[in-house]
C-alpha cells in the first residue's frame, strides 16, 4: 500500500523558480567565503599590520569575513536582500527553496525543508564526532605512557581544548539538530518549522563556525582548555580569536534554532494537539530550546568581551588593569551549567518515547515527568557556581550553591522514576533502541551519583580539576547524552532514511560501545582517586595503570562507534525498505510515510489523545488516534 505520493517527485517547477538560489550551493558558499576572507585579510593587514592591535585584529576580521561571506555565498540572506529590493518570493520560489526537484543536491544547498535540515544536521553531527573522537584518540595515545613524546605539551594542550569544544558543539546539536528538526514538527502535525529560513540559517551557521575552530591549530593553538579561562586565554596566540569567533557564530545558531523550536510548538500544532497531548520529546525540545535561549547569550557575551580584551585592549578580564578572571568564569558557567541540560534533556525525551514504544506501555506519570524536566531546567540556571567552589570566589555562597545543586537530584530522580515506571510490567520488545535505554539507565546512574560527590564542597576540594571530574561528565554527556542520541538515531532511522537500520551490526556496535565506556571512564575515575589533575600532557609513574586502562578502553569505544557508523552508512545505502510504522508506535510521525513527503501529511491530522495509549484500545476508545490521511490510518498494520 502506498501511503503517500511524495510531492517532491511530481511537482514541476518553472525554469526560473528559485532565482538566485538556483546557482547557489555549498561550493559557492566556500568560494564567496574564501574570497571574502581574503579581502578581509588584505584590508585589515594593510591598515592594521603595524598598529599595536596586530595579528589578533587581522585574524578576527578575516574570520568574521569568512562567516559572513560563506553565508552570503550559500544564500542565507537571499530572501532579506530580495525583500529589501521590494520583491517577494512567490510560491514556486518557495518550493524551490524547500528542495523540490533537486534530488540529492538539496542536501548541499540552503534548503528550508525541515527534513533536509534535520538530515544535514545528522551528517554534520557525525562528522563533528569523527573529528572530536580522533582528537580524543590522540589525547589517550599521548597518555598511554608517562613522559610520552607522542606530542609536545603545546600541541597536546590545544588538542585538549579543541576536543572539548568540538564535542560540546556536537553534543548540543546531536539531538536538537537532527531530531528536533526532522521529527518534532511531524510529531505535532506541522508542515514545517515556523521559520524555515531561520532553520536553514541555523544549520549553515554551524557549518561556517567549524573552519575557524579547526583553523586554530594553525594559529598557535588554544592552550587554555575548552573553558578558556582568562587571563590565560587573553594572553593566548591568535588561535583564541578563531575559537571565540566559532563560539559567537555557534551561539547565534543555537539562539535562532531555540526561537524556532519554541515558536513552532507554540503556533504550529495541528488540531487537537493540546499541551497535555504533546509527546515528551516535544516537551524536552522546547524546554531545552528555551533553556538555550537563556544560557547561550551569556557565552556570546563572555567570548565577545574576550575578543575585545584581546583585540582592542579592553580589560574585562585583565586583573592588572582592574578586570577579573572571575567575571569570565561566572559568565562562562552561567552558560555552562544550563548548557549541560540543553544537551541532556532532548536525548532524555527521546529515550522516554523509546521506553514507551518498546515496553508497549503508556509513559509513567506523564505530568510528573514534565514537571521533572521543567524542574531540572529551572534549577540548572541557579547552580553555576558549583563549578567555582575552589576558585575562591564568594566562599559564603558555597552553602546555597550546594543546596541548589543537590536539589537537582530530585527532578533527575523523577526522570528515572518515569523511565523505570514505564518499563515496569511492560512487554519488553528488545529492539536496538531499547538496548540504548538500558545503557543510559546504567551510565546515567553512575554519572549522576558521581555528580553528588562533586556537589559536596569539601569533597569537591579533592576532586575538582581532577580526572574524576572528567570521568563524571563523560559518563553523563557520553554515557547518558550520546547514548540517548544513539537510541534516537536507531529509533527514528527508518523514518528519516526510509530504510531499517541493520540491528545485527547495531547490536554488535552496542556491546563494544557499552564495554568501551565502562573501561575508559572507570579508568579515569581511578586516575582521579589517585590524584591526577586534568589536562596534563604527562603524569607521574603511579598513574600509569589507570591511564593504560582508560586508553585501551578509549580505543575499544572508538571501534564501537566506527561499527555503529558503519551500520548507519551501510543501512542507508542497502538497508531493507522501512514501512511507515515499523515500531507500531502511536505518535504522529509514524502515521505518515517513511520518509515523509514534503509538508509531511497529505491530510491535516486531527489528534484526539496523547500518543501513549498502549493497551487502552478497549478501555478508552477516545484515546485511539484518528486516521491522519485517507490511507495512512494504519496504526497497527505491519510492513507494506
Amino acid at each position: 500500500m502506498t501511503i503517500t505520493a511524495p510531492l517532491a517527485e511530481d511537482t514541476k517547477l518553472g525554469p526560473k523558480a528559485g532565482g538566485l538560489y538556483r546557482h547557489q550551493n555549498f561550493a559557492t558558499g566556500l568560494i564567496v567565503g574564501i574570497l571574502s576572507a581574503v579581502i578581509g585579510w588584505v584590508i585589515s593587514h594593510a591598515l592594521l599590520q603595524d598598529s599595536n592591535w596586530g595579528s589578533d585584529m587581522v585574524v578576527t576580521v578575516t574570520l568574521v569575513s569568512w562567516v559572513v561571506g560563506f553565508n552570503i555565498g550559500i544564500g542565507s540572506f537571499n530572501a532579506i536582500f530580495r525583500w529589501s529590493l521590494g520583491h517577494d518570493e512567490d510560491h514556486e520560489d518557495q518550493l524551490y527553496g524547500a528542495g523540490v526537484g533537486q534530488g540529492w543536491k538539496r542536501y548541499f544547498k540552503f534548503c528550508t525543508d525541515h527534513k533536509v535540515v534535520g538530515t544535514q544536521y545528522l551528517v554534520l553531527v557525525m562528522v563533528l564526532f569523527g573529528v572530536g573522537g580522533t582528537l580524543a584518540m590522540m589525547i589517550r595515545t599521548q597518555l598511554l605512557t608517562p613522559n610520552s613524546q607522542f606530542m609536545s605539551p603545546e600541541t597536546y594542550n590545544s588538542i585538549v581544548s579543541i576536543h572539548g569544544m568540538i564535542m560540546i558543539i556536537a553534543t548540543i546539536i546531536m539531538v536538537s539538530g537532527p531530531f528536533a528538526n526532522f521529527i518534532m514538527p511531524i510529531m505535532i502535525g506541522a508542515k514545517d518549522m515556523a521559520f524555515p529560513r531561520l532553520n536553514a540559517l541555523s544549520f549553515w551557521l554551524v557549518v561556517s563556525a567549524v573552519p575557524p575552530i579547526l583553523g586554530s591549530f594553525f594559529l598557535g593553538g588554544v592552550p587554555a582548555g575548552w573553558t578558556t579561562y582568562a587571563p590565560l586565554a587573553v594572553q593566548a596566540p591568535p588561535a583564541m580569536d578563531a575559537f571565540a569567533i566559532t563560539i559567537c557564530t555557534f551561539v547565534l545558531s543555537v539562539t535562532v534554532a531555540g526561537i524556532n523550536t519554541l515558536v513552532t510548538v507554540l503556533t504550529m500544532r495541528t488540531k487537537g494537539m493540546t499541551p497535555g497531548r504533546l509527546p515528551i520529546f516535544v516537551w524536552g525540545s522546547i524546554i531545552a530550546g528555551g533553556l538555550g535561549l537563556y544560557a547561550m547569550p551569556a557565552f556570546l557575551m563572555a567570548q565577545s568581551a574576550m575578543i575585545t580584551d584581546r583585540v582592542v585592549g579592553t580589560s574585562f578580564y585583565v586583573a592588572m588593569q582592574g578586570g577579573t578572571g572571575w567575571l569570565y568564569e561566572n559568565t562562562f558557567w552561567i552558560m555552562g551549567h544550563p548548557e549541560v541540560y540543553v544537551i541532556l534533556i532532548p536525548p532524555v525525551g527521546a529515550l522516554i518515547e523509546i521506553a514507551s514504544t518498546f515496553s508497549r506501555k503508556p509513559v509513567f506519570a506523564y505530568k510528573v515527568m514534565i514537571s521533572g524536566i521543567i524542574g531540572i531546567a529551572a534549577l540548572s540556571i541557579m547552580v553555576w557556581a558549583h563549578h567555582m567552589f575552589t576558585t575562591g570566589w564568594a566562599p559564603t555562597l558555597a552553602d546555597p550553591f550546594m543546596l541548589t545543586t543537590e536539589l537537582i537530584s530530585i527532578p533527575t530522580g523523577i526522570v528515572f522514576l518515569c523511565m523505570v515506571g514505564t518499563i515496569w510490567r511492560g512487554s519488553i520488545w528488545t529492539r536496538l533502541p531499547m538496548y540504548f535505554l538500558y545503557l543510559f539507565l546504567f551510565n546515567f546512574i553512575v554519572g549522576g551519583i558521581t555528580g553528588i560527590y562533586l556537589s559536596d564542597v569539601p569533597v569537591d576540594q579533592y576532586f575538582h580539576g581532577n580526572m574524576f571530574v572528567t570521568a563524571h561528565f563523560h559518563y553523563t554527556l557520553l554515557g547518558g547524552g550520546m547514548i540517548g542520541a544513539a537510541g534516537a538515531v536507531s529509533y527514528w532511522y527508518p523514518k528519516m532514511t526510509g530504510r531499517m537500520l541493520n540491528e545485527r551490526i547495531g547490536k554488535t556496535a552496542f556491546w563494544i560501545i557499552a564495554a568501551g565506556i565502562q573501561i575508559t571512564y572507570l579508568g579515569q575515575f581511578w586516575e582521579g582517586f589517585q590524584g591526577m589533575p586534568r589536562r596534563v600532557a604527562n603524569y607521574a609513574q603511579i598513574f600509569q595503570h589507570a591511564n593504560d586502562m582508560s586508553s585501551v578502553g578509549a580505543y575499544i569505544l572508538m571501534t564501537g562507534w566506527i561499527v555503529f557508523l558503519y551500520a548507519i552508512i551501510s543501512s542507508w545505502r542497502h538497508g531493507v525498505k522501512a514501512p511507515a510504522n515499523p515500531w507500531h508506535a502511536k505518535s504522529l510521525e509514524w502515521q505518515t510515510s517513511s520518509p515523509p513527503p514534503l509538508e509531511n501529511f497529505l491530510v491535516d491530522p486531527v489528534v484526539t489523545s496523547d500518543p501513549y495509549g498502549y493497551g487502552e484500545d478497549d478501555l478508552a476508545p477516545q484515546r485511539q488516534p484518528q486516521p491522519v490521511s485517507a490511507e495512512a490510518g494504519s496504526t497497527t498494520g505491519g510492513a507494506h
Binding site: S359, K361, A365, Y462, Y614
Partner: protein, 275 residues
C-alpha cells in the same frame, strides 16, 4: 470486554505490586531479591574500596573527604540498586520472545502513573538530599572554623612553579614544608594566570588568581611527604607544575626555618603566631 471489566483487569495487574500473593512471587518481591545483594555489594564497596583508591590521607580534611565519600556511596547504593534491579528484572521477567521479530508483543498494562510509587520515590529523594545537604554544611562549617594555633603560609603560583613563603621569617622555598598538628592557612595568589593550588594528600585546593589572595586551610596530621600539583590549566608546562610537600614535627620545622636563614626570634614569634 466492557470498560469495567478492563478496569478490573488493570487493577488486578497493578495492585499486586503492593498487595496479594506471597511477596517473592510478585515482581516487587523479585526486584527486592535483586536489590538486597546489590545494595550489600554497594555498601561493602563503599566501606572497603576507598582505602585502595585514595592516596594515604595526611590531613584532617582528607580524612573527612574519605568519610564523606564512604557515606555518600553507602547512601547511593540502594538508589542505584533500585533502578538497576528493576532494569535487570525487566529484561529477565518481562522480555517477550518476539524480541527479534518485526511485530511487537502484546501491549502491556496501561499503567499511567502511581501516586504511591511517586510519593515514595519523591519522599525518599527529598530525605536523601536533606541528609547530604546537612552533612555537607556541617562538614564545611567545621572546616572553616578558625583554630587557635593556626599558622599562615603564603603560596604564589607562577608559570610554572610554586613558591612558598613563611611571613615574618624571610624564608622562601619551592618545597612546601609544614608542621604537623596545627591548622595551616594558605594565602594563595598568582603572578600571572590562574593556577590551582592543590596539596593532594591534604585534601584541599584553591585557585591562585592574579591580584587576589584566596584562602584555604588544612590541618596536616601525619608526618611524611605529599604532592603539590596545579589543578587549573595554566599554559604550556601545566603538567610539570608540581612539587613535593613535607609534613614535619614543629621542632623540625623550626630548625628548618633557622637553617634557611630565619632568625631565632622571628621563628619563635612565627611559630607562636595565631592567624
Amino acid at each position: 470486554m466492557s470498560s469495567e471489566e478492563k478496569r478490573d483487569e488493570i487493577a488486578a495487574v497493578v495492585e499486586p505490586v503492593f498487595r496479594g500473593g506471597p511477596l517473592w512471587r510478585r515482581p516487587a518481591g523479585k526486584v527486592l531479591i535483586l536489590w538486597v545483594p546489590m545494595t550489600i555489594i554497594g555498601i561493602l564497596l563503599a566501606l572497603y574500596a576507598p582505602r585502595y583508591l585514595f592516596p594515604a590521607d595526611m590531613s584532617v580534611e582528607q580524612e573527612a573527604v574519605k568519610t564523606t565519600f564512604i557515606l555518600f556511596t553507602a547512601l547511593a547504593a540502594p538508589v542505584a540498586a533500585v533502578v538497576w534491579g528493576i532494569a535487570l528484572y525487566s529484561i529477565v521477567g518481562w522480555r517477550k520472545k518476539s524480541g527479534k521479530s518485526d511485530t511487537p508483543p502484546e501491549d502491556g498494562p496501561p499503567i499511567r502513573g502511581g501516586t504511591i510509587a511517586t510519593t515514595i520515590w519523591l519522599g525518599t529523594s527529598v530525605i536523601l538530599v536533606v541528609v547530604l545537604l546537612v552533612w555537607g554544611m556541617a562538614e564545611l562549617s567545621s572546616e572553616l572554623a578558625p583554630q587557635q594555633n593556626a599558622m599562615q603560609v603564603n603560596v604564589t603560583g607562577q608559570q610554572w612553579q610554586w613558591t612558598f613563603s613563611y611571613p615574618g621569617t624571610g624564608v622562601t622555598s619551592t618545597k612546601l614544608i609544614v608542621p604537623e598538628g596545627r591548622q595551616i592557612n594558605f594565602h594563595v595568589t598568582s603572578e600571572d594566570v590562574t593556577h590551582g593550588f592543590w596539596p593532594v594528600q591534604l585534601g584541599v585546593q584553591i585557585d591562585a588568581n592574579p591580584n587576589v589572595t584566596t584562602l584555604i586551610s588544612a590541618t596536616p596530621n601525619k608526618l611524611g611527604t605529599f604532592d603539590v600539583r596545579c589543578s587549573q590549566i595554566c599554559g604550556l608546562n601545566h603538567a610539570y607544575m608540581e612539587t613535593t610537600g613535607t609534613t614535619v614535627t614543629q621542632a623540625q620545622f623550626n630548625a628548618w626555618l633557622v637553617s634557611h636563614g630565619a632568625s631565632a626570634t622571628s621563628v619563635h614569634s612565627y611559630a607562636m603566631s595565631a592567624k
